[in-house]
Symmetry: D3
Subunit: 243 residues, 6 copies
């Protein structure tokens, strides 16, 4: 169930029986030579919809622009300041809590969002906000953090999965958008690794945008398997959260 | 061309020849008994993609959550404070300007965003921001403000089109999501009109969420015609803006 | 009745019978070769006082500095950022609402304020603020938007009234400050028109500050007639608002 | 010379020879049984205009709403939060500095503004702002702090002048607005003194709004003498500042 | 009693009998050739601990970084913007008030903090905050403002005490940290005086960081006497505040 | 070398040879029945001073108040909002970078600070700030994250070390303040574990403030060993960072 394709009466009916909702949050940033700029938004959105269908859970619209300052030297990347993203997340929670959603689950697709999501969740708790007079619980979770996904990544790509523009996220985004598969050769096969700092430094250290990965190994088929694994992992985690 | 389904190298190549981009901006708010909560985001996103295809223009990810405080008494509505939405818009512009986009066109789907969009555009101009050392130009435009759309609305629905949850926006959103067509009877046929104030007052005055409209008149076919009209209107306006 | 020339006991007595107040809001910005920098503050202040006298309504001190970023390339112009002006308007409302004013009417003199005023009004509604436990209603209105003024502008100046540093606003400000009438020849007679963008661009496009107007046609006599028309228009609109 | 009654060309001409400007800043708050709510704005505005005339100095529009939280239990009082007033003052300075005003003199009429004015001046200095590439100097001064005024207050009223709604400020405001003289008996003759805290406490401790004063002693004549003394004091201080 | 060296149960027990707390606030900024960068934090912290011991009062952790923008041209100086320092102070008060501390006494060591402290205290009062449903009282006081200290300064150093990097504050900080005594010759013996403006100007006017002082006169012995005097002064003032 | 006990000339000399600095950051919050409220500030401050001595590195004053909202139901706990703490950290960096410190190392003592520290570091990088025209590098590190400490914790306490008010942090703080050792019996011996949410929930779930720990096992001797281990771990990490 997608919130944006429901009517308000349908949401009212939903709230009579459930009070959980999944909010996908991602980013709009370069993902190397064959990865889509929207990879980090597409992945959690796709997984969230899968979990939403299996568990009859509402899925909010995706927060597509995250904290991507370190990618801003690559054309097309967009970013919010951490302090602004924090406000957005807080007001998303305030909006949903007003209607009685008391289990709000952020399914995250971008490592760069984790710190700000954590700060925002603390900001909400510090405010004492409740959901229609009931305690409010928030959780953030990365789509790739569950056991099934991690095992599958290891099996599919080993260390070639890498740290940014990973083979597995490219595969999952291609599964979601098979029309957007790009056939690009990588040189070197596996990109270098190193610390992430500011945007200019990032582009100097990682000139094609990848970190430690060989995303030419990605395929729609692998993406399909990763989708199944991620939906399984997230479903279990979400059910424990709302249960 | 959608930004989120492009690679950064594709964006780099695009910027060698064009510097315009369309940013759809909408809302997540109730749209009456048969209108989708995402109507105001779906409509400009759909029209923007049509214009993007016809004119080979990049389309940024949709800003799906707008200023909808007056709808917050209806379940599922989400809102940002005007001051927060202003920051988001400013940082979207800053991100795009950094890459050299100097004609940024906000295609808007929600009347409640107009004031804040205008304030944000002024905030950017006041900051003296440039796009890679070139003057920066911003424009906001509603998808329904062109002549073709207005004539067609009048012809299709006359005064029954209304002011919120209009027959024409419901039709356009159904054209975009034909699986989401809802068959709901309206009572009264045409909803009341009146001033918009705060959320509680809105629900008292407009108990099913409609203002002045009879969206049971909507249809996918009418949506298709409205789509063509809107793409024509917006294309002309956009081309004048970037030309 | 001017708030600043009343005592608190007089305001207390006033609130026993009325709960409306007019807040003039303008700007401090260039108005061409013969227009006063304070034109946009002087006009709504003058009209507000007229309506205040006729209807025994309190008039708050004028918010004299508005959103004028696009005029900042002309000496003497002052501006607040939209985000700051928004805060000021919100706190003006909070102050007045605390005392029980529940019909707060912003009489505006500057087009550049409209978006921010709208955003601020939404920010207040979004906050759920009440006036001494009663619903709070806010309205913004331009002094020139009523029917009488628009007819008179058309009759007096036709298209030579223009869009900035208009003949009619110069006339009205001279009526308020006859000592400040300036005799300046205009060249060209009617200033050019075009889009408003940032400050440097504004001065390049409109080198003497006028847009589309010939304010050498202004006169104290015309200002007097415009005053009568504006007081009539605004009075009717205000009475409908508080009634 | 008042900024609001000048044209931009007159300001341009002024800046060729001078770069100082006076900005009156006051408040809108109760001033006891016979004092005007605008007292603290009227007084510095009146003195500033006097100094402006004598020294051919521009006077900016008065910042009429100050930091008056402790008066908010009395009807008609208005306040900005310190953090908002700080932003307003900073942006006033930024506006003026852009045009080349490098000696900006805040003539203050309200004790409650002093801390925030000081903080704002520090905020500007911390930002490194310059006035058209020249060092920027800011100063705040109360209209009553000079030697002539203090001697005259002592001579006219002694300890009955008090601390809020003082006889001397009421007198000066009446000199500026002789139509607004109010004949009110005070009981007790001299109001109590004590610490200032929050609004509710203030009204409990000082039920008619006065602190330590007997403003029934005020007169237009005394106001005239205070005006002369204040113009003399402020003129000397201002000339030392710009000289 | 230092808060940071107590357990929460000890604080709970304390609050059963007392509701006052001392919060030292200082700065981290140059203090001339022989003064410690932490002088303005060390002094109020030392005095606060003395008063805390004598009166069995809790002392909060020192706010060590203040508003020091005018010292930023000297290496090692640190500053918060006034607007940020204001937020910190407000949230310190909110934290303490939540537990029932209703007499919060800021013992200040830095003149540059006074304006912002005053603004912050007003911001708290404006918010209507209470301490566990009781009225909240705040006070700021400089450690050097009492009669005993001022007499002793005069006796010890006369006009050579100066205005920044004073002999007396250097002496007190050395009393607190005798290991940090520095033997430095001053040239000229007494530093120049003049207005404080921005950082670059400060360093030009006061090249070694002192203003009007000869801190080579400082000694641990004098610091000990100043400590006794300050503890006496502050104790009396604090007891009147909480009494 | 402690910044607060240095003169500005000593810092100037230091910067000629080094550009690294350690900034301890902690919190002021309950740490169970025998742990000090300042534990999380005392621990990184103590370790930072040890590393500072061994490596001749400057140590800035400790940021003692962190993000502790979830501890606010226990008396004595203090907290900043994440958004405020973010500003403080950013301005600390701006201050230090101005002087040429280009390797700023935050040694953290509190898990609740990690997210906000990460967001703040991103905010700085997003701003493009440099240190005297050189690239700026920031790092956050917990004092307990190194290999030596983790091994020692395991050896000393095993799973009884716990998650909050740990035996090891209590031991280290006692080593720093042996006068503050408290002899308190714990019941149950090992505190419960579970998720951290808002303040009221925290106190319900963890009534004496501990999470998973038995801090009655702490001792000054163990604290001494933990100090040696932590100084070793942090020294190696810091030297790699600045090297």
């Amino acid at each position: 169930m997608q919130l944006q394709q429901s009517t308000w009466q349908e949401v009212e009916a939903y709230l009579a029986g459930s009070s959980g909702i999944i909010v996908p949050i991602g980013s709009t940033e370069q993902h190397g030579p064959n990865g889509l700029i929207g990879t980090d938004a597409i992945c959690p959105e796709t997984v969230a919809r899968g979990v939403g269908e299996e568990t009859a859970t509402l899925v909010a619209p995706t927060l597509s622009i995250g904290m991507s300052q370190h990618h801003m030297a690559f054309p097309g990347s967009m970013t919010l300041k951490p302090s602004t993203l924090l406000l957005v997340i807080v007001e998303v929670v305030e909006s949903l809590a007003r209607h009685g959603f008391d289990r709000i689950y952020f399914l995250n697709g971008h490592g760069g969002n984790i710190a700000t999501l954590g700060a925002a969740i603390n900001e909400v708790y510090a405010s004492g906000l409740e959901a229609a007079d009931r305690p409010l619980r928030l959780r953030q979770r990365n789509w790739w953090s569950g056991e099934k996904v991690r095992k599958l990544q290891q099996k599919l790509y080993g260390r070639a999965d890498g740290a940014h523009a990973t083979a597995s996220e490219v595969a999952l985004s291609w599964f979601a958008h098979p029309d957007s598969v790009k056939d690009v050769e990588m040189s070197p096969k596996i990109a270098p690794m190193g610390p992430i700092r500011d945007a200019e430094d990032f582009r100097r250290s990682f000139p094609d945008g990848r970190m430690g990965s060989d995303p030419s190994l990605a395929s729609v088929e692998a993406g399909s398997d990763l989708y199944d694994a991620a939906v399984g992992d997230v479903r279990r985690d979400f059910e424990a959260f709302v249960g």
